[in-house]
């Protein structure tokens, strides 16, 4: 019932996005020495959320609008970084990946904090101490 609240929904989408992006970064770091590997990344949360999930349509029955739900998955896109290509065709830069990883951690922490605080407010509304 709580996923009808938009702020919880948004926090959930943000945490999911952070987790997916962490997967992409882990892939880049693991392949930092693979010849010919192109670094991948996801679009930022702001872009994906606005594009796919800004105003969700209400389904009258479970199973409707399944396609829409699938569209929400952020698509991996190649990260173009001119000049950072090694002679073996690899475009991963460990420094940039570390920056992105710190970003992801912050995003995930933020999402969880929002979720937790909202739940606290709900609990306070129910008359319990948060």
């Amino acid at each position: 019932m709580f996923d009808k609240l938009e702020i919880l929904q948004m926090a959930q989408a943000m945490a999911t996005h952070a987790a997916a992006r962490q997967g992409a970064i882990a892939e880049n770091v693991a392949n930092a020495d693979t010849p010919g590997y192109r670094a991948r990344d996801l679009a930022s949360f702001a872009e994906t959320y606005r594009a796919g999930n800004g105003a969700p349509m209400r389904a009258t029955r479970n199973g409707h609008l399944d396609e829409l739900v699938e569209h929400r998955e952020p698509e991996p896109l190649a990260r173009a970084r001119p000049g950072s290509e090694s002679p073996n065709g690899n475009t991963v830069s460990l420094e940039l990946e570390m920056v992105a990883a710190a970003d992801v951690k912050r995003e995930h922490d933020l999402a969880l904090a929002i979720y937790q605080t909202s739940m606290g407010i709900l609990r306070t509304g129910l008359g319990r101490r948060a």
Partner: protein
């Protein structure tokens, strides 16, 4: 949670590949004075399962460095020919040390990604505990 599982397995595959690379490096260094030893090298490659890259990485097949062996002048050596030369190894210690250092750095990067994914998933689980 699935995203975290993928990140963890990707980071783990990266660590494994780097550890394997370090193994070859130590093998080369150990055999730096073995007559006729060819340096072992290997290249990283993406793991592909049923036609799709999984994002994991592994070490490709081992190859031998085809550079010429160094000719060492030592008439007292049991393997020396009539001119007093024998074939040494083609291991270059400086290259091996640089390779080992790079493997260590990449291993650390993978380890950090692993740790971050673990922290993120445990922060998520902490929400359930309260």
């Amino acid at each position: 949670m699935n995203d975290f599982a993928t990140s963890l397995s990707r980071s783990a595959s990266g660590m494994q590949a780097q550890a394997m690379r370090l193994r070859f490096t130590s093998e080369n260094i150990a055999n730096a004075d073995t007559p006729g030893y060819h340096r072992k090298t290997s290249s990283f490659e993406e793991v592909v399962e049923s036609g799709r890259p999984t994002g994991q990485v592994r070490l490709g097949p081992v190859e031998l460095d085809r550079r010429e062996l160094t000719r060492v002048y030592d008439p007292g050596h049991p393997m020396a020919d009539e001119n007093g030369y024998y074939d040494g190894s083609n291991v270059d210690l400086v290259v091996e040390i640089a390779d080992a250092r790079e493997a260590q750095r990449s291993y650390e990067a993978n380890l950090r990604m692993f740790d971050q994914a673990r922290q993120m998933s445990s922060a998520l689980l902490d929400l359930l505990r309260r």
